[in-house]
C-alpha cells in the first residue's frame, strides 16, 4: 500500500487490517497472520511446515494479494496477459 498508493504507515496498516478483517495489532503477530494468510491464500513461509505445497504460494499468492488489497500487481497482470489472455 505504501509502494502503490503512497500511503503513510498508519493509514496503510488500517487499510490492510480492514481488508483482512483483523486488528492493526494482529498485522505484526506471526501467529494470527499465518492463519489469516493461509485462509486468504496470501502465501507464507514455504519451509518449516508453515504451509502445504498444495496451498497458494509466491506467484499464486500474489494473485490473491492483488484481489484482497484491491491493487494492481504488475507481475500478476503480466502473467494474466501472457498466460490467460
Amino acid at each position: 500500500m505504501q509502494m502503490t498508493r503512497g500511503m503513510r504507515l498508519q493509514p496503510a496498516k488500517e487499510y490492510v487490517a480492514a481488508k483482512l478483517g483483523v486488528s492493526v495489532e494482529d498485522l505484526v503477530d506471526p501467529l494470527a497472520m499465518s492463519e489469516v494468510r493461509r485462509e486468504k491464500g496470501l502465501g507464507t513461509l514455504i519451509y518449516g511446515e508453515c504451509a502445504e505445497p498444495t496451498e497458494p504460494q509466491v506467484m499464486e499468492a500474489k494473485f490473491h494479494i492483488a484481489e484482497v488489497l484491491d491493487v494492481p500487481i504488475a507481475c500478476v497482470d503480466g502473467f494474466k496477459k501472457r498466460a490467460i489472455a
Partner: protein
C-alpha cells in the same frame, strides 16, 4: 502463552506465573526452586512491553543448531553459507530431510558429497546431524515387532525383546553414518532428539557415542535430548549401572559424559496452556542442577516447543528472545 498466542498480564500475574513454574518443576523433579534473585531477574525480563530482549554485552554464548538451512530454496551448501555469513551461527549442521540415521544410511554417498563440498566453502565448525529414531526400526516400516502395539496387548516380554533387538541396529547405523561423515571431513556428529522412543533409544545413542569416541578421539559428539525425562518404554535398561528410565537432565548429562559426548543438550517440554514465563521458570529449575556438575558444555534446546519457546510454527521473536535471554542469564549456559 506456550502455544504462542499473545495475551496481556499484569506484573503481579507474571510474578505468580514464574513462582508457580519453578514450584511445579521443583516438585516434579525433586529439585530446589530458583532463588529469589533469579525469580526477580526472570520477572524483569518478562514484565516488559519491549518487542525484544537480549543478554548483556559480553555474556553471549555459542549457538549450535540442529539443522541449519531451510532445504527449500537454494542448495544445502548455500544453506550452510547463509547460516555462516548472514545468520551468525557459531556451528553449522548439515542434515537430510529425513532426519534419521536409518534413512541416511542408504544415501550416505550423496550426503558425504554435500559435506565435502560444504567443508570447502565454510570456515566455522560443520557437523552432521540426525535422530537415532528407534521407532523407525519397527513394523510397519522396519523389521522389528512394534512395541507400541505389543505393550497395550500386555505382551511385555515381546515388547522388551523387540526394543533390545533394535538397540544394536540403531547403534550400528549411527556409527556407520558417523564413519562416513568423518571420511568426508565433518567436524562433529549430532545425535538429535535422543531418547525420543524411550530408554532403549537413549541406550542405543550412548552405546554409539562410546564407539564413536573410541574410533575418533577428536570428533565432536553432540547429544541433544528429546524430552525432560527418559521415558521408560522398556523400563529396565541400564547404562553404567544406572537405570535409564525416569532420568532427569542431570543424570542424562552424566550418562552422556560417561559415554564420551563433548556437548550435551537438555530438552524441557513446553506446556502450551501455560505462559512462556511459567515455562521458562520451570525449564530453568530443571536444568539448573546440570550446570554446576557439567564437565562438558551444556547447550539447552530452545527450539519450537522446548526450553520455553512457544509451540508455534513461527515462534514470535518477543517470546524467543525472552526465553533465550533468561536461560543464558540464569543458567550461565555454554550455548543454545
Amino acid at each position: 502463552m506456550g502455544d504462542g498466542s499473545l495475551t496481556d498480564m499484569t506484573r503481579s500475574e507474571l510474578k505468580a506465573e514464574i513462582e508457580a513454574g519453578t514450584e511445579a518443576a521443583a516438585k516434579r523433579a525433586k529439585l530446589p526452586e530458583l532463588t529469589q534473585d533469579e525469580l526477580d531477574h526472570i520477572l524483569d525480563i518478562f514484565a516488559s512491553p519491549s518487542r525484544f530482549s537480549a543478554v548483556d554485552i559480553g555474556d553471549e554464548v555459542i549457538l549450535s543448531t540442529d539443522g541449519t538451512g531451510s532445504q527449500d530454496f537454494a542448495s544445502r551448501v548455500t544453506d550452510q553459507q547463509a547460516f555462516e555469513q548472514y545468520l551468525g551461527a557459531d556451528t553449522l549442521e548439515l542434515y537430510h530431510h529425513d532426519y534419521s540415521f536409518k534413512a541416511v544410511k542408504t544415501d550416505l554417498g550423496h550426503e558425504q558429497t554435500v559435506m565435502r563440498l560444504a567443508q570447502l566453502v565454510t570456515t566455522i565448525p560443520l557437523q552432521y546431524g540426525a535422530m537415532p529414531d528407534m521407532g523407525r526400526y519397527t513394523k510397519p516400516d522396519g523389521p522389528i515387532p512394534n512395541w507400541s502395539e505389543l505393550l497395550p496387548l500386555g505382551r511385555f516380554e515381546e515388547a522388551f525383546a523387540a526394543q533390545e533387538e533394535a538397540v544394536p541396529e540403531v547403534t550400528n547405523d549411527i556409527v556407520f553414518v558417523t564413519e562416513g561423515m568423518v571420511d568426508a571431513g565433518a567436524d562433529a556428529i549430532d545425535l538429535d532428539t535422543a531418547g525420543a522412543a524411550g530408554d532403549a533409544d537413549f541406550l542405543a545413542s550412548l552405546r554409539a557415542i562410546e564407539i564413536i569416541r573410541k574410533k575418533f578421539p577428536d570428533l565432536g559428539v553432540q547429544i541433544g535430548m528429546a524430552s525432560e525425562t527418559v521415558l521408560g518404554m522398556h523400563g529396565k535398561l541400564e547404562y553404567d549401572g544406572h537405570r535409564l528410565a525416569g532420568m532427569w537432565p542431570l543424570q542424562q548429562m552424566k550418562m552422556a559424559e560417561k559415554a564420551g559426548a563433548t556437548l550435551f543438550g537438555p530438552a524441557i517440554n513446553v506446556n502450551t496452556g501455560k505462559t512462556v514465563a511459567w515455562n521458562t521458570a520451570r525449564t530453568l529449575t530443571i536444568v539448573k542442577p546440570c550446570m554446576a556438575e557439567a564437565k562438558i558444555p551444556i547447550h539447552l534446546n530452545v527450539g519450537m516447543g522446548v526450553g520455553g519457546v512457544p509451540m508455534a510454527i513461527m515462534p514470535p521473536i518477543d517470546a524467543v528472545s525472552r526465553a533465550s535471554r533468561a536461560a543464558v542469564d540464569i543458567l550461565r549456559l555454554d550455548g543454545l
